[in-house]
Symmetry: D2
């Protein structure tokens, strides 16, 4: 159960620091430094104060902080010595179950990265698909040292913002979650299409992984967002709609086989905290989609 | 080089029959019977007369005619004893290169079909994809004898119509070819999208086979139809358009990764002699398609 | 301030009848008859009981009831002797301010109708535009007596349902209101179009009357429905969107003059209690609309 | 009957000059100067040479040339002393039949323009609607002298290019004509919509003038372009399609009154020599349009 912002504002400095000690990986001093800035009007202000404390510390201390992080999908992950937060974050994106080949690829990237920058690769894995992590990893290997140091701190910002949002409740919560939703309109009948089977896949290279299925309700929507209550992982997706069955059940003749049966919509997500509404307007002979709101 | 209708109208009955002897598989008597109906005003009338001769013959002779056909993808195909026409038609759809498993499936269907109906399964393979042939085969196995006899003659009609259209030129050619075309409009810029890479796949079950690639020209079209100059094989298809590269080359910001990159349009063809125009209207954030004309 | 259903269920039969006496025009006996069916679980059940009382009464009494109604836009309206409810209902659709020509047309229709059916024309004016009332009037003049008697009672049902919904609050309110809404998406930018000026006209023949104006908000919607909190009048409408100004303000080049400037959407409403969502998806070079939900 | 480019290349210099003397209003010296540049490979090159001769002449002579033109809709037009070409060009756009008020407005603009620039307002009227001419007139009154001198010569270029295209035939004709076309697809049925009544209006302020009507053919197109064989007049237009009748004739239920009956598409033309394809994709409940090709 999360702490409330009020509780954190009122407890002793020692208790405050202890409560948030593990927000910044192996760096309880960040929470200690932030404790002096209390009271905080919003949870966002609390997080900003912790980030401020990190940025205000000597460069060498920031570097030590970065160096204290585990490798992504590294030996620590395999050997089971990660902190609790790191472990569940890395597992969420499947980094705890890589093939030997993928493990080797991460291993090579980790080594090259540490050799160049002197600290492990930081990325807020909950904001990415497995594919996107590899894209980021290879792209950021090309950065110069100053750019990459800033990029690493930005990822620390995303990681700790999510941790704070999970630990603390109160006014002014940071926006950490996105939403992916859909809506199917049967523009042949002029009404929502109910009972449409919907599948959502995430891509990793040529592979597609099923991550959600749903059936549209009477309003042509899914009862729950396709992805919600968490950041939307940056990456490539395909939504598929079984519209052939729908029109067949309405007794509409659309050819044999029907011109449209399974309609795929392939799109990417680039804003983890955004709202992606990806509707389908459909007849047996036409369809359209768009990023809506 | 094809014969002209005029030549066929004017040659001796013997020469006429010889010229068209192999139109109806191992049944030169069909051409002989049609020779008495000359002259023909159109190539379609010539074909109709041959079909008329077949339908006018005794039921037993029609049955013998059907029995004279090879099994589809059968041992005759493997042993290389098909007539020239049958051989190239079966090769066109890939029936000469089945896996052992597929061969066994066709073998079982052939046996079941012949046991039920007393003649081999007829299908105009040039009007079907491999998948569609199997769908037809299994569906028609459920027919009663009279329905299936009519269905077999209808396929003979399609097969011989294509053969006549290949052998004879002249007025009133039968409509045997279809056309699949596309058109890409960039509705963000209000003009055709040139230089878009287009791929066309045909599906067989979960497998997809590349059957065409093209680049759109200045008018947003492909220089040649995606399929043309032949019947459109009944079956399931996917067109893919590399619109992400197009918008990137125009300097348009569509997210990182871009909301739309490769746009797939999945549709089926049910009318082999029809025109399927499947355009894409696209912005970086929306698209639509329809069966056009 | 409306009565509550609870109050009506608990008051004396006399008070109940007095409270609802004017629901059925000049027919307090309907409320008296319904009082014996109490308690009502829902407001809809209360109204159904009143309708039931009317239908259960002798045919002659029903006919007297119909005869007790004023002419539509008739002399009573002009002379100011309508009941309070009739007066405000007829004024709402502009029937109190007809031109001499329109008045004469209504007068002729009223006379022809009464001569044929023996009672005045009933129509729930709040569910219609002025144009639609005339369309209904002329169409129903062609009915036979039984069909028209049923049609008149159906209108009484609509009229009194609205009156009850205005007088009584409680569980199970009847659905008497519709909603007309819009939404503008800029599919060139991939986001809602804010600040778009929207106009809504209602048609009466060749004339158009402005009935609403609005500016789209940050979500591309209007803060209030274009029509809401009342039945949607059956009739023809045009929505217009000033998209040219929008794209100009974004610095988008769309031609001089711009290909699209004011986009009109012309549509009809046929379901007064329905939800009509009429969105606009727009680029400088394309747009689409549909009946959404 | 037009002269051929070959004839012009081979005739005497005197005959050449005489043949093209009236191309540049009251300035036969332009044709004389161009005669020395013969032979011309294309009609475009011939026109370019004449324009070159004008631009190469002394500034004072160019100014005299401009001064030799009649006022637009001026007294000369009313008094019937225009050259033949000027007369028919001004009549084409309705400038010979202005109301007193419009005449007065043109008169005031002409006076202000000549007072500022010293020559009459030049505009290629065949490339404009009446509304667009007034827009240009008022906009160009704000130009500085050099900008306006260049603008006037550009209009001379358009006027004389049209005259040359009308007088001379041969290789390399200049592109002087545009085309406005439409296409109606019934995406409810998946085929072209035949028999749709189409109207085209041109706007002048709040007034709309019918300029074309057509019925769609079996391919959903009009047999002739809505505007063709001439420049498309710059201006605002509305196309209207009677889709309600179409769906009613197909027996489709779309509401009473139908959600869509007359669909208006309002757009502007800015490129007189361009191709504007403005199709309608329509179901009883949705439609879309775009600038196509």
């Amino acid at each position: 159960m999360p702490l409330t912002l009020d509780q954190l504002n009122q407890m002793s400095a020692v208790d405050f620091a202890a409560s948030l000690a593990d927000t910044f990986e192996l760096a309880p001093w960040v929470a200690e430094a932030a404790s002096t800035k209390r009271p905080f009007a919003t949870v966002t202000a609390l997080h900003d104060a912790m980030i401020g404390a990190l940025r205000a510390s000597p460069a060498e201390r920031q570097l030590d902080f970065l160096r204290g992080h585990p490798d992504l999908a590294g030996k620590a992950a395999r050997a089971g010595v990660l902190t609790h937060d790191s472990k569940s974050e890395q597992a969420g994106v499947g980094l705890d179950s890589l093939s030997e080949e993928e493990f080797a690829r991460f291993h090579r990237l980790n080594d090259a990265y540490k050799a160049k920058f002197g600290f492990p690769f930081m990325v807020c894995v909950r904001r990415h698909t497995r594919e996107s992590i590899l894209v980021q990893f290879e792209r950021r290997l090309g950065n110069d040292a100053a750019t990459e140091f800033a990029a690493a701190l930005q990822e620390i910002f995303y990681i700790t913002r999510l941790r704070i949002a999970g630990k603390v409740s109160g006014e002014g919560m940071p926006q950490v979650n996105g939403r992916l939703s859909t809506h199917v309109l049967d523009t042949h009948a002029g009404r929502p299409a109910a009972g449409i089977a919907v599948e959502l896949d995430e891509f990793a290279g040529q592979q597609a992984y099923r991550i959600a299925t749903a059936i549209t309700n009477a309003d042509g929507r899914t009862d729950e967002p396709l992805i919600g209550g968490r950041p939307l992982p940056i990456g490539r997706y395909e939504l598929r709609f079984a519209v052939g069955n729908h029109f067949r059940s309405r007794g509409i003749e659309g050819g044999d086989p029907p011109f449209l049966d399974i309609v795929p919509l392939r799109f990417s997500i680039a804003e983890p905290e955004g709202h992606y509404h990806v509707p389908l307007l459909c007849t047996p002979w036409s369809y359209s989609t768009y990023r809506g709101s």
